[in-house]
Symmetry: C2
Subunit: 245 residues, 2 copies
DNA sequence: TCAACCCAAAGGTATGACCTATTCAAGCCA
DNA sequence: TGGCTTGAATAGGTCATACCTTTGGGTTGA
C-alpha cells in the first residue's frame, strides 16, 4: 500500500521499528545516517520523516535530529500506525484497544444502520449472512473470514456515518489477525453465526434495538475471547456466551 | 500546531481548501504551479504534498499531477482533517459524525473508567465536576467550556484505552466549536451539570452501569441539540431530556 | 556563580539536473 | 476501418550540492 517509491521503503522499515519499540522513545536518528543506511538522497529521507512526523511518531528538531516520540503521542487512529503495531510487540495492547473500540462502535453502527440502511445494503447483508452460515457449516475458515470482514464493514458503512465506515478497514485487520494468530476453532460457533443473521434481519426490519443488542453480544463475545487468548482477563460488563465476530 | 515551517504554510492553505470542497474531487494541482503560487522551492511543495497524500486527501501521479481524491477516501480520523472540515463547509456533516462517535464511545469510556480509574483521575473528575457546577451557576461560559472539555478528556483518559484517550482532543474541538457557533444558552442547563456530577461520582464509586447511563444521557442530549441547531432531525433512539456535554 | 556570547552541529530550503513512469497520439498492421 | 504498437512529450521522482537558520552547549567575563 505504501511500499511504492523509495520513501515507502524507509517507512516500511522505520514505522514498524518504532511501533514495535525496537527504536524506543527518545532514540535519535540523523538524516545523514539514514541516507547512508538506505542509500538514498536527503530528499527521500525527508519525505519519509515528514510522514512519520505527521503521525507524531517522531519529531525533527534542528541541532538535535529526529527523535522518537513517547507512545502517548502516537496518532493511534492512523491506519498505518495500527497496522505496524498489530505486526509488532504492541500487538496485544493494540488488539485490546481495538476490541474496546469495536465494542463501543459496532453496536451503535448496527442501530444506525437499522435506521438508514438502503435496500442495497440490506440485500448485501442478507447475502453475507447466508454465506457466513454456509461457510461456517462447511468449516471453510478462509471464506468465512472473508465474508465476516465484509459483513462488519457493510454494517459500518450502512450506518451512514463516514467515521464509522472508515473503521471497516481496521476491523478487517483485527479479524484477519485473529484467524492468523489466535488459532480459531476449526468451525465457527453456530451461535455466533446466528447472531450475525439476527443483526442482518434486524437491520433489514428497521429494528435498531434488536440490531444493537445482537451486535453487542457478538462484539462482547469477541472481546472475551480476546482476553482469554491474550491472558489478561479484565471484565467488560454484561456476561455473555462466547461469540464470534 | 503545524504552521511551523514553509510546508506548514502550504498545508494550512491547501488542507482547508480541499476539506471545504473549494478544491473539489478531481481537481489537479501541479508542483510547478504551487512553487510559483507560494514562492517556495520544489522541496517544500513535495513535503506538503507528501503529508496531504498520507491523509489520502490527494494522490500524486506522474504525467498527471496532484489529484484531489474523493471524500470517501479521506483519512477521517486524522486530527488535522477533522479540524479542517470543522472549519469549512463540511462543518455540519463532520459535527454529526463526531456526535455519533461520541454517543458510541463516551458511555463505553465512562464504564471502563469506573473500572480502571486511578485515585488521581477520580480526584480530578470530582474537582472538575465542582468547577462545572460553580461556573455554570455563575454563567461563566468560557470557564465552563474549559472545564467541560477537561472533564470529558479526563473520562476518556481514565478509561485506560489509548484510542479513547486520543479522542479527547477531538471532543474538545467539537465542544469548542459548539460554543463558538451554535450559540449556547447563556447558562448551562442545571440538569446537564448534575449528570456530569453523576458521572464523576459513579466512576469514583466504581459503578460502571451508572456511569455509562449518565454519560449516555449527556451525549445523547448533545446529539439532539446538535440536530436541532443543524436542522436535520434524525432520531437516535432513547428519547431523553436535552442535556449538555 | 551566573549571565551573555559565540560556535558548531543538524535540520530546513533552494537549485538545477537527470531519471522514469504515463499518457496520448500518431502510425502501422491485420 | 479498427485495434494494437510504438514513440515522444509531460510531470512527478530522485539526486547532489550548496547555503541558510535555528539551537544546544560550551566558553568567557563580570
Amino acid at each position: 500500500m505504501d511500499i511504492q517509491g523509495l520513501p515507502g521503503r524507509l517507512l516500511a522499515e522505520l514505522g514498524p521499528a518504532i511501533a514495535s519499540g525496537e527504536l524506543p522513545e527518545g532514540a535519535v536518528l540523523r538524516i545523514e545516517e539514514l541516507e547512508a543506511r538506505f542509500g538514498v538522497s536527503r530528499t527521500v529521507v525527508r519525505d519519509a520523516v515528514r510522514v512519520l512526523e505527521s503521525m507524531r511518531l517522531v519529531e525533527s528538531r534542528r541541532r538535535v535530529g529526529i527523535t522518537v516520540q513517547p507512545k502517548s503521542g502516537w496518532d493511534v487512529f492512523d491506519p498505518l500506525v495500527i497496522r505496524w503495531r498489530l505486526a509488532g510487540s504492541d500487538r496485544a495492547a493494540q488488539l485490546r484497544s481495538l476490541g474496546s473500540l469495536r465494542a463501543a462502535v459496532e453496536p451503535a453502527a448496527a442501530a444506525l444502520a437499522a435506521r438508514h440502511a438502503s435496500p442495497d445494503h440490506c440485500r448485501e447483508l442478507s447475502a453475507l449472512a447466508v454465506e457466513l452460515t454456509v461457510t461456517a457449516r462447511a468449516a471453510d475458515l478462509t471464506a468465512f473470514l472473508r465474508h465476516d470482514i465484509a459483513f462488519h464493514a457493510t454494517v459500518l458503512r450502512a450506518s451512514g456515518n463516514e467515521m464509522f465506515a472508515h473503521l471497516g478497514e481496521t476491523v478487517g485487520a483485527v479479524l484477519t489477525g485473529r484467524t492468523e494468530h489466535d488459532l480459531m476453532p476449526h468451525q465457527p460457533e453456530p451461535y455466533a453465526v446466528q447472531l450475525h443473521r439476527e443483526v442482518a434481519e434486524a437491520i433489514c426490519a428497521a429494528d435498531p434495538g434488536h440490531a444493537e443488542r445482537a451486535m453487542r453480544t457478538i462484539v462482547l463475545g469477541a472481546l472475551e475471547e480476546l482476553d482469554a487468548t491474550l491472558g489478561h482477563p479484565a471484565d467488560h460488563g454484561a456476561p455473555k456466551r462466547s461469540g464470534l465476530a
